[in-house]
Point group: C2
Chain length 248, copies 2
Amino acid sequence: MVARYELIADELRDEILSGAHPVGSQLPSEAELAGRFRAARGTVRQAVAVLAAEGLVGSRQGARRIVLGTTRSQSFAELHSFAQWARSNGYRFGGEVIGQRRRPASGAEAARLGSGEVLEVLRLRSLEGEPVLLERTVYAEWVAGAVERLPADCESVTEALYAAVGLVFAYGEHLIDAVPAGAEDARLLGVRRGSPLLRQRRVTTTHEGRPVESSDDRYRAGSVAFSIRNSIGANPLVRQAGDLRFGL
Amino acid sequence: MVARYELIADELRDEILSGAHPVGSQLPSEAELAGRFRAARGTVRQAVAVLAAEGLVGSRQGARRIVLGTTRSQSFAELHSFAQWARSNGYRFGGEVIGQRRRPASGAEAARLGSGEVLEVLRLRSLEGEPVLLERTVYAEWVAGAVERLPADCESVTEALYAAVGLVFAYGEHLIDAVPAGAEDARLLGVRRGSPLLRQRRVTTTHEGRPVESSDDRYRAGSVAFSIRNSIGANPLVRQAGDLRFGL
DNA sequence: TAGGGGAACTTGTACAAACAAGCGAGCACC
DNA sequence: GGTGCTCGCTTGTTTGTACAAGTTCCCCTA
């Protein structure tokens, strides 16, 4: 059962992406939309709130909503899963496990994952045939077994874990910065030591807030960028000084 | 006039940050909160939606909301304005204009800013006495005059432009990646050529969707990181392949 | 012609009510 | 003892109404 406001949001989004509402133009008023879709104004408001969250439209009290852009911010899955992102954008991609081992958790890891022993996995991912991403992921003990049973060339770990044990990655915290490539980074990604890498460190949890994994992902410079669209009053991205929280 | 749901959100946020609702615990149900605050359930829902957008709590149908963390994602202003971010985090900071000049817009700039002539400004920003950020900003013609009238050591361009001409930066699109330092970057930031920099390119517009500026900001590695907390179904950050859109 | 006032329009906030859908605990049955 | 089911609780969706607050634009006046 899909919600009504989702359907309305889908239709309006299609209209924006197709150019029926060009960038900079005004959207119809809530009252007009309510009439057109035969829905209550509250339902229409929920629909346009979806579009606002995607960065497609902006609004301010008293004035009609305006179209801000046509590039849609996409799903959590695409930020979380390299495979889902690459696939939904039509890229050729691959990946393989370079190494994995169980070991005792460090103090910081134990605090982040709530787990005494962890499974550390090193994965190399490629895009359009080029190696672009090196993932150093640490899994909590309670998922380690399921991860170990995955094939080494598993395309999407996220999807495989969902299929195998019903595990859903629901929340994530991400820290993005730039670091020089170390010796191992350089060798596996095919760049010079010290060259720039885009680093994304993250901790992911289940619906219940239970930590699943902590990861240090490094992208070759020029291969991938993160994009965000924000507006006054609502945005989730923040600067942070230095290397405070993850304490690596 | 502050909205009721904002007040409720503030109170709940304080309770979370103070530890009254520890990470991983359940929030009271909407019905309980509605009773406690003598508000309708819809109003309470708006309040917790604020907290969810800040990444503090998560929710799923049928189960009580849970507390996810205590670090709050903050305002648009803090992402947009280095000064406002630094100040609200209690850092010492400074900045000065290294150079500025008017010139014809390039094709890409004309498309982004809708302006034939532009004002290019090079600013160096420091944090805790260290140079950390080099801003190369291109302003649309219609704000160029106001920007030129600002003092060279202006602390916050955003605030100064609001005070001077009532200009409000309302929407922004940001692209984040890593690049090697060029000769000028290296000299001004005090790092070696080719060392990693965290780059944030952005285009900012007014409430009406009118482009104001386009900027290429480069942070010294290790000085600043971007942080995001997201959840399934709602997040605005996206990966992008290569250097497609900004075409620099 | 320039400016002020105001009316109409539009989005934001708040309340109330009802039903749908998912979760979790406890109970009965095998 | 374990399995499955039901029931109550909780969040999600939708409608309707009313008023508040900000914007836009026209008209009237000086």
